[in-house]
């Protein structure tokens, strides 16, 4: 992760995320591969980011996911929230997740 962390995004933290219908992901030995079926592009996530995606996909808000992940990895909540917001922003920009309530595409 970059040294310059984005600030906690309270709007993002209060949002729920889901995978669009055209996105699938599978766990490999050393990474999670996310595939956009519309573009045919593969995206690799390291194991921690892969776990974050799985927890996000399970439901609840991003903040709920951050609490759970902070417990799993024994990390400060604020740091985990920042990491998770950074990942969500990246995945949203790539069209690999969308905020729950957005139209299925």
């Amino acid at each position: 992760m970059a040294d310059q962390k984005p600030l906690r995004d309270t709007t993002l933290l209060a949002s729920s995320m889901r995978l669009p219908e055209h996105v699938v992901h599978r766990a490999f030995a050393s990474e999670t591969v996310v595939l956009n079926l519309t573009t045919g592009k593969y995206h690799g996530l390291n194991p921690v980011a892969g776990r974050m995606l799985t927890v996000l996909e399970a439901g609840g808000t991003v903040q709920d996911a951050a609490r759970r992940l902070a417990g799993e990895y024994d990390q400060p909540l604020e740091r985990t929230e920042q990491d998770l917001c950074e990942l969500c922003t990246d995945l949203l920009e790539r069209g690999l997740i969308e905020t729950d309530g957005a139209e299925q595409g």
Partner: protein
């Protein structure tokens, strides 16, 4: 639309419709053809044990006149997916896709082939070659695409069976996988496939469907093996200045993939070294067949299979000095794989 059998003008050497049929199983496909292909298709209506593939994977093949094939290919709505050229820029192969008619492979040296979108029918309009030459293209390029369209995943690899388990051998083109497979057979393994593996998920296993019982053996390797040992391996059905085509007895069963070996020749390696590796998706995709087929179903199926393969199939890298010949390397891998299989069973 793909032509029906009755609509197609037959090739002069094809049997008359309904007259004779040759059947076989390869790459998971149940083949029914109006022509003979050694090592691939046999005459007869009875299905031997080897033909244990479901009817959903039926695939008919017909020899047709090139004009008939062209008459059934809607050129205007087709798009070129890709082409392969040699170093001089000469075109070796062009692949086209049509949303209804399927795929058309045009290889100036080997002819034109039309594959229905569901992989259930193949029209063959071969160039003026001997049968073994154009059928090598059919086996090496056309049938793997049909297998992919049937939902199997095709990988550039050779394979042998040891103690009821399949050992896959992956290498770059001309990387020696066929020579290695042949020498593993000399050491007691059974032939499964040469150059193309058709894979299928089955529960927690990855099943390998046998290919045609034909292998290409480089002339240098044939010389190293010697004529007597070569005769024991099989029958030479064709040859050119680079290699010969050997028809052999093959393992008829679908068996689970027990290990995958990635073979790499390196001047930096004084002998040969085997080490377990974690195959990532990029490595596997680099050896996948027909990557131009990018339907959602294929992409998801491919991802599922490779994810399962990395979880369940031990994978090894074999770094081998050019000084180590294929027979010696086969001994090393035979011992390694046998130990692996015994430990797992």
């Amino acid at each position: 639309m793909a032509p029906s059998k009755a609509e197609v003008q037959s090739h002069p050497s094809a049997a008359r419709p309904g007259e004779r049929h040759w059947r076989g199983v390869a790459f998971g496909l149940q083949l029914d053809a109006d022509f003979f292909a050694r090592g691939l298709l046999e005459e007869g209506s009875e299905e031997p044990d080897r033909h244990s593939v479901g009817p959903e994977h039926a695939c008919s093949l017909a020899l047709v006149h090139p004009d008939a094939l062209e008459a059934h290919w809607p050129h205007d709505d087709a798009r070129v997916l890709g082409s392969v050229r040699d170093r001089s820029g000469s075109r070796l192969l062009t692949i086209e896709e049509h949303p209804e008619a399927g795929y058309r492979l045009d290889a100036p040296a080997y002819g034109r082939y039309l594959i229905a979108r569901d992989g259930a029918r193949i029209l063959c309009a071969p160039s003026d070659l001997t049968d073994w030459e154009w059928q090598a293209f059919l086996i090496g390029q056309v049938l793997p695409l049909a297998a992919v369209l049937h939902g199997f995943e095709a990988v550039h690899a050779s394979a042998v069976a040891l103690e009821g388990h399949v050992i896959g051998l992956v290498a770059d083109s001309r990387g020696g996988k066929s020579s290695l497979a042949i020498n593993l057979i000399r050491r007691g393994a059974a032939f499964v496939a040469d150059d193309v593996l058709a894979l299928q998920r089955a529960g927690e296993r990855i099943l390998v469907h046998p290919g045609p019982t034909l292998a290409n053996v480089r002339n240098a390797e044939a010389d190293a093996i010697g004529p007597t040992a070569l005769r024991l391996l099989g029958t030479v059905v064709g040859s050119d200045e680079h290699e010969l085509r050997l028809a052999m007895k093959g393992e008829p069963r679908r068996l689970a993939l027990a290990a995958l070996y990635f073979i790499e020749r390196s001047q930096a390696e004084p002998d040969s070294a085997l080490r377990e590796v974690e195959p990532d998706l990029r490595l596997l995709l680099g050896h996948a067949f027909s990557n131009f087929v990018r339907t959602p179903a294929r992409l998801v199926g491919q991802l599922d299979l490779y994810a399962q393969l990395t979880r369940t199939v031990p994978t090894f890298g074999a770094i081998v000095s050019p000084a180590v010949d294929a027979y010696e390397l086969a001994g090393c891998i035979h011992t390694h794989a046998s130990t692996l299989i015994q430990a797992a069973t």
